[in-house]
Symmetry: C2
Subunit: 338 residues, 2 copies
């Protein structure tokens, strides 16, 4: 049901019955390496383009999620996903391989939660029995498309993030054991006039703040309802900016309650500037790491606020501003687990 | 509710309470010119890029739909849409201008019906009161992106379509007067090995056939339930191919019952090769032309089968195949009109 203007409450408890996450070689050196189902030791995966490598990772993540469940692919009603690449071809080509009815999405790095919100909506209203929801990104494919090919070895400013090479997918069902999706808030596009594609955190921070404040108000819960509020890839500076902005709006979060996916995935000594980004960032951190903590009951309630910058290489060339969006989905321990 | 594997039946009759359609100078010379709300006499709309011109048309279509209704913009819960351009920036920038919570989609020229299906889903389950659903395309922006800049004056084969310059938007609501959305079938990705970006009809025809057959089976109606089955932009050859394929599968449609949006919009003597394409094609023809016929009760039930080719310029360069998809939505005269 609709609560407020842009928030959904899911009373039927759509359940995440399984997940699959895949990472690349750089992710294999990071903080949550042990949480991935598959880690690849090169960027190519025996494919002839980085985009096809990204497609392969998404296919693997979906196959793992299905394999971990007790259903087969033919029982999946819909596959919902998208990515950063022009015309989201890696996701589409993966959907073609899987042969499941398909919704293509684009919300840049917020795609994971746009997809999860729609999956929960369909399951909640009995419009599907099983849904695969996933996304992928690839560092080299993204650099080539949005910035410069990595071979140019361009220097980056300290606000620049590193795009995650990986894929994350969940299988959402009407029944089963696992964490449940309890609510979702769909964000508005925010445009604060940022034009620098090396400073996405600044562009996305206001979107995250807007969606978090709206979510808490419309769901009618306090911030401490959630053990963790996990934002997408704002980077070190964007995380601090949004933390301060929330504080200015009267929302005093505890330091360790406010987590940035982009800062979780890599170790401090990995040569990244400001954490990670990419549509896979929120997906692999949430579906690989935090779902496990929920399943172990180390945490009970999280709000995942995936953030995306909705520009294209063309709009960057034209010096347009970089509008951003954030979609929030809450995941909690299901009643069968309490 | 779910009927079969991939079809939704909407029992609460989500209603299309208003629409807005915008066209360019070439569309102004076509068959349905009198159906547009706005016709522009140049391709630029005083913007400095074709992509921004496309964005402006979408904004206009949304504004018209709202203006024709008795609600204001602030009552719209969600804007759902997408387009063909990299990272769907025209739609996103329009969403930014409108300030309405936003779902970005990508299903190429099938986006209009992906969007309408999701809008009906949200309205049907009381997850929204009002939704704006729309898409736009622009001939010059699309040529530049997927083929060659028009200034190159490249010769095209007879299977090549002309991308519609236009935008179409509808306002979907829980109550009100207007045609209602009764069902939707979400397509699978079809890949028949076509690699020629000048022969989209061949790539999309099997997707249309698959979705039409699935829809009729899962909704449990015969083809003659519908006054018209209106496909997306298959072109002259694609239309004939799909008509023949349906026949081979035992579905004998009447010639004038099976309509191609791409052949409706332009006159025979306009210098196009095989009809029209573009994400706006299905949108402006359905929302501009056929909704009016439904409102006048000249027809009572239509099935709109928007078709999209899910490739990118990059995948064309790589000589990948062009996977395609078709999403079908049925629109009928509402019970308050019968």
């Amino acid at each position: 049901m609709l609560s407020g203007h842009q928030t959904w409450i899911f009373k039927q408890q759509p359940t995440i019955i399984s997940s699959g996450t895949v990472g690349g070689p750089f992710e294999a050196q990071g903080n949550i390496a042990h949480d991935f189902d598959i880690l690849h030791d090169d960027m190519w995966l025996n494919q002839d383009s980085f985009e096809k490598s990204q497609q392969t990772m998404l296919e693997e993540a979906c196959q793992i999620a299905i394999k971990k469940s007790d259903i087969n692919k033919e029982q999946v009603n819909f596959f919902i996903g998208g990515d950063l690449i022009n015309q989201i071809t890696p996701t589409t080509f993966a959907a073609s391989t899987m042969g499941v009815p398909y919704f293509g999405l684009f919300s840049a790095c917020a795609t994971s939660m746009e997809s999860l919100a729609l999956s929960a909506l369909m399951i909640n209203g009995n419009h599907a029995d099983y849904i695969l929801s996933g996304t992928a990104s690839h560092h080299a494919a993204t650099e080539k498309q949005f910035r410069f090919p990595t071979e140019y070895a361009g220097q980056k400013p300290p606000t620049a993030q590193w795009t995650v090479t990986g894929a994350g997918c969940v299988l959402v069902a009407q029944n089963g054991t696992g964490p449940v999706i309890t609510s979702a808030t769909i964000g508005k596009v925010n445009d604060m006039g940022i034009t620098d594609p090396y400073n996405m955190g600044a562009a996305m921070a206001p979107a995250a703040v807007d969606t978090i404040l709206t979510h808490l108000k419309e769901r009618e819960v306090d911030a401490d309802y959630y053990d963790l509020i996990i934002t997408g890839d704002l980077g070190k500076i964007g995380r601090q900016t949004s933390f301060d902005l929330l504080n200015e709006h009267g929302l005093q979060l505890k330091e360790d309650q406010y987590v940035d996916c982009g800062l979780v995935i890599y170790k401090d000594d990995q040569p990244v500037q400001a954490g990670a980004s990419g549509s896979a960032c929120s997906a692999v951190v949430t579906y690989g790491h935090y779902l496990k903590l929920l399943e172990k009951r180390e945490i009970e309630r999280i709000l995942v606020v995936a953030t995306g910058s909705l520009h294209s290489p063309l709009s960057v060339q034209q010096k347009d501003t970089i509008p951003s969006i954030a979609h929030a989905v809450s995941i909690e321990i299901g009643s069968d687990q309490t």
